[in-house]
Each structure stands twice: as structure tokens, then as C-alpha cells.
């Protein structure tokens, strides 16, 4: 046993999660502005938009969350976390910005420098995290899943690197196969496995539910890996079907658990999880029948994105208020603000409805193709992410004001 990993007492400095989550929400906002820019300009760039969300919003949130969860949930302590987080954050932030600019402008130097910076951030921290996790003597399904997810993130990053090099004309490869491998490994291996393994722990913990079935949690990760490999063996629906079934089953168990939760109090975060699971099921119903690059593939991407977006919102709105209370309480700050004092539930409900509205308009825009609806959709996304950024910022401010009331230099 690693006593060091046994408690939130060993939680890394609050500013780590704070900086990653805030940056992620600002990337979401940037994505919405990018959408408006593309509509006005009349040219659409899928790669730029997708990577603003996958790297800027999703990966930034997830790497920040891993800094927090590795010691607390898995018992894998990262030494000098603040230094490592600062470095990773700067490199991922600047790398994502340059890469997206590179995609937009098709400028080779921008693309390559963005790629190099991203590699400097991701390939610096992920091997450290993976090493710490591999050294653990015993695993819970969550810590075990993190190993798989991080390994897949490294693999997906390397595949992405080959793609960018191929795009910038460094050498030619089977681009389509590589692109399919890149998106499968990233979406299911990295994002999918990470969300599922974190859910194994947090659904029970945050909403007081029964645990997930043991056999399912034990076998989920290796089976996912095998099924990702199977889905890449050929571009046909039958090979993708088992992977879909596995994730749909996860969504169903999660909904069942949430419906049977002990605390029946209305909670916007439960609604966000339901929304996430609904979109996961929809996306996985379409996935087997979506040939790479087709319109149904885009539909799948949007639906899967809606799933991840919903879950990330549910996580951020729980983690930030709890950590603010926890850190202040551990510092001995008298009468530390409890969760609803950090971010009021009314605001989270507003966020939930904004999120639902933006998803609704997104799908109307997608299926009708009207420019005006796309414009409205981008505006709603901008509003939703601006509101998220504001709420996170205000929550984070509560921490710094109470922790350093005289304006002392914050080091946490």
C-alpha cells in the first residue's frame, strides 16, 4: 500500500487543476469564435475545429484531472507536480494554438512548430504518469484504466504526429488508415477508456450509487483495446459493432445506477451524465455504419463530442467546488466555503440548459445546413463556454481570496 496515495490530504496544489480547467473552458470559447469566423469567411476547416475541442478542451481537461487523480484516486504520487504541470500546461497550450493556426492557414512551419510544442508537453508528462501507474503494486479498475488510457494517448499522439508530418509533405503514408487509427485510438482508447474508468469510481462516489459490476470493470479495458484493434482490421460495420455494444452497455449500466442512486435530490450534474449517456448511445448506434469521412461519420463525431462535453461539464462542476472546500479546509481556513457557496447550483442549472440548447441547435444546423442556424449555434456555444469560464473563474477566485486574504503570493 502507498499511504501517500491514500488521501486527498496529498492532493496536489489547487492551481494545477484550476489552470488546466480554466484553459480548457477558454479553448471551448475559442472554438465557438472559430466557428463564427469560418461561417463569416465561408470556409470550413474540420481539422482546426476538431482539434480546438479535442486537444484544447478535452485533452487539457483530462491531463489536468489526471494530475489530481493520479495521487488521490490511484495512489501514484508525482513529485514536484506544480513544476511539471506548469511546463506541460504551457507546452500544450501553445502547441494546440499553433497547430490549430497551422491547420487553418495550411502553413507548414506553424503546423510543425505546434506539433513539436505539443509533443514537448504530452510526451513529457504522459510517460511519467504511465511509469508511476505501472509501478503500483495493486490496481483498482480506475487506476488500471488510467494506464490503458494514457498508453493509448501516447500511441494516438504518435499516430497524430505521423499524420501531421504526412500532411506537411515530409513523407507519404496510407493517410486514411492512419487517420482511422488515430481517431479510434484517441476517441475510444484515450477519451473513452479514461471516462469509463473514472466513472467506475466517481459515479458511486459523487451520487452514492451501487458500484459497477466487478466482472465488467475488470475486463472493460483489455476488451476495449482488443475491440479497437478489431475495428481497425477493415472498414466494415461488423468489425465496429462489438466496440459499440461495449460502450452502449456502459451507458446503460451508468443510467441504471444513477436512477437507483440513494440521494434522490434533483441535481443538474446527474442530468448532465444522463445527457452524456444518451449521446454516447446515439453515437455508438451510428458508429458501426459510418464510413470514415462520410456524413454519417461526421454525425458520429458530433454525437460522441456531445457525450464527452456533457461528462466533462459534470466533472468540472463537481471537482472545482469540492477542491476549493477541501484545500481551504486542509489549510485550516475557518468556515471554509462549502460546495454551493463556491458555485451556486442555480448557475449549474443555467449551464445545463445552455448546454442542451446549444446541442439542440447544433444538430438542427447540422441536418438543415442553414448558415443562419450555424451562426446561432456558434453564438450559443460561445455563450455556454463563456458562462463555464466565468463560473470556473469565480470558483477559483473564491479559493485564492480565502487562502491568501492579504494578497500574499499564491504558490498553490
Amino acid at each position: 500500500m502507498t499511504p501517500g496515495g491514500l488521501s486527498l490530504l496529498y492532493a496536489p496544489p489547487f492551481s494545477i487543476v484550476a489552470r488546466f480547467f480554466l484553459t480548457a473552458s477558454l479553448f471551448g470559447l475559442l472554438g465557438a469564435f472559430l466557428g463564427i469566423y469560418m461561417i463569416l469567411k465561408g470556409s470550413f476547416n474540420l481539422q482546426a475545429l476538431v482539434h480546438t475541442y479535442t486537444l484544447g478542451f478535452m485533452a487539457t481537461t483530462m491531463v489536468g484531472a489526471l494530475f489530481q487523480m493520479l495521487p488521490v484516486v490511484a495512489g501514484a504520487v508525482i513529485e514536484n507536480p506544480l513544476q511539471k504541470a506548469r511546463y506541460t500546461h504551457i507546452f500544450m497550450l501553445s502547441g494546440t494554438l499553433l497547430l490549430v493556426l497551422g491547420f487553418l492557414s495550411s502553413e507548414k512551419p506553424l503546423m510543425l512548430s505546434g506539433l513539436l510544442l505539443l509533443l514537448g508537453g504530452i510526451l513529457f508528462i504522459t510517460p511519467i504518469m504511465l511509469y508511476k501507474l505501472l509501478r503500483l503494486k495493486s490496481h483498482t479498475p480506475t487506476s488500471s484504466g488510467m494506464r490503458y488510457a494514457i498508453a493509448m494517448f501516447i500511441l494516438g499522439t504518435l499516430l497524430g504526429t505521423l499524420l501531421v508530418l504526412s500532411l506537411s509533405g515530409e513523407f507519404s503514408l496510407n493517410y486514411l488508415l492512419l487517420a482511422r487509427a488515430h481517431f479510434s485510438v484517441m476517441l475510444f482508447g484515450w477519451v473513452g477508456i479514461l471516462i469509463v474508468s473514472v466513472a467506475f469510481q466517481v459515479i458511486e462516489m459523487f451520487f452514492v450509487t451501487e458500484p459497477y459490476p466487478k466482472t465488467y470493470t475488470r475486463w472493460f479495458h483489455p476488451i476495449t483495446l482488443a475491440l479497437i484493434a478489431l475495428s481497425l482490421c477493415g472498414d466494415t460495420w461488423i468489425l465496429r459493432l462489438p466496440l459499440s455494444a461495449l460502450f452502449i452497455y456502459f451507458a446503460l449500466i451508468t443510467v441504471l445506477r444513477l436512477r437507483q442512486r440513494r440521494r434522490k435530490i434533483p441535481d443538474p450534474l446527474v442530468n448532465l451524465w444522463y445527457t452524456g449517456m444518451l449521446f454516447l448511445v446515439l453515437s455508438m448506434l451510428i458508429f458501426p455504419f459510418s464510413e470514415f469521412g462520410s456524413k454519417s461519420f461526421l454525425t458520429f463525431l458530433l454525437l460522441y463530442g456531445a457525450f464527452v462535453h456533457s461528462v466533462i461539464l459534470a466533472m468540472m462542476y463537481r471537482i472545482i467546488p469540492f477542491l476549493v472546500w477541501l484545500h481551504l479546509s486542509n489549510m485550516g481556513v475557518p468556515n471554509a466555503p462549502t460546495m454551493h457557496e463556491v458555485i451556486k447550483p442555480g448557475r449549474v442549472w443555467v449551464q445545463f440548459y445552455l448546454h442542451i440548447a446549444s446541442l439542440f441547435v447544433l444538430f438542427i444546423a447540422f441536418f438543415t445546413g442553414f448558415k443562419a442556424v450555424w451562426f446561432l449555434c456558434s453564438l450559443l456555444y460561445a455563450l455556454s463556454f463563456a458562462f463555464l469560464s466565468l463560473n470556473l473563474f469565480r470558483g477559483i477566485l473564491v479559493y485564492f481570496r480565502r487562502a491568501y486574504p492579504q494578497g500574499a503570493s499564491p504558490q498553490r
Binding site: 499511504p3 491514500l6 490530504l9 458511486e204 459523487f206 452514492v208 440521494r263 460546495m339
Partner: protein, 144 residues
């Protein structure tokens, strides 16, 4: 019976006691809420007592780990005690918002605390201590 099984059942019972109290607050049934909360608080504190007076000292003596997980667990018990006081005050003032907000923090604190005990500390206790005998000793302090 294993220590893990016995103590985990107590966690589940306490969860239910809190959920009942929270439901009463939500409905604005303050008298019932006070009664249900009293039960939750008493049982939670009894569970803490069993750990702090029986399980942790035996664990520490047997394994020699004194400044490790048990210290952390004691610290979290104290954090939970503070929140229980705050909840009681909110209940007295019939302050719904304050109760729900404090309850949210307490629930997450307790859930992550319980998970660590159930996944690590209790199984280790079963490995190092005579389970049946320990469960008997713990039961002597009362039933949750």
C-alpha cells in the same frame, strides 16, 4: 464475518440515513429532518468511534504503521465532524441552502473516505488481524 464486510455495511447504512434526512429537508419537513439527521449523526459518530477506539489502534499495533493511513483517516473524521456541526446549525436555523451545500461537501468527503477504507484499509485489517474477534469487539460498542 470479515471486518471489511461488517464495516462496509455500516457505510451503506449511514449513506441511507443521510439520504433520508436530505430528502426531508428538500420537502421542508424540518421536524422529520431533525429526527433523521440526529440518527445519521449518531450512527456516523458511532462508526468513527469504532474505528478510532478499536480498529485503528489494533491495526497500528499489529502493522507498526502509525503515521500512515490511520492518521489520514482520523484527520478526515475530524473534517467530517466539523461539517456535521455545520449541518446541525443549518438545520436549527432551517437554512435549506446551507444544509444542502454542506451536505454535498460532507457526502463527497465521506464517499472518497469510505472508498479508501473499503478498498485498502479494511482488506489490510482482515489480512493482519483476527477478523471474527475484531468484529465481535467492534459490535460491543453498539450497532449502526
Amino acid at each position: 464475518m470479515l471486518i471489511a464486510q461488517y464495516m462496509t455495511e455500516e457505510h451503506r447504512k449511514c449513506d441511507q440515513f443521510y439520504a433520508d434526512a436530505e430528502q426531508a429537508v428538500l420537502k421542508g419537513d424540518w421536524d422529520k429532518a431533525r429526527e433523521l439527521f440526529k440518527k445519521f449523526k449518531e450512527k456516523t459518530l458511532l462508526h468513527f468511534k469504532k474505528e478510532e477506539e478499536v480498529l485503528f489502534p489494533e491495526f497500528e499495533q499489529k502493522t507498526g504503521i502509525v503515521m500512515g493511513p490511520t492518521q489520514v483517516m482520523r484527520h478526515e473524521h475530524n473534517q467530517a465532524r466539523d461539517l456535521l456541526e455545520k449541518l446541525e446549525k443549518a438545520l436549527g436555523e432551517r437554512n435549506r441552502e446551507e444544509f444542502l451545500s454542506t451536505g454535498e461537501s460532507l457526502m463527497i468527503l465521506l464517499q472518497q473516505h469510505n472508498m479508501k477504507e473499503e478498498q485498502i484499509l479494511y482488506p489490510m485489517s482482515d489480512q493482519n488481524l483476527p477478523s471474527e474477534e475484531m468484529v465481535e469487539k467492534l459490535s460491543e460498542l453498539g450497532e449502526v
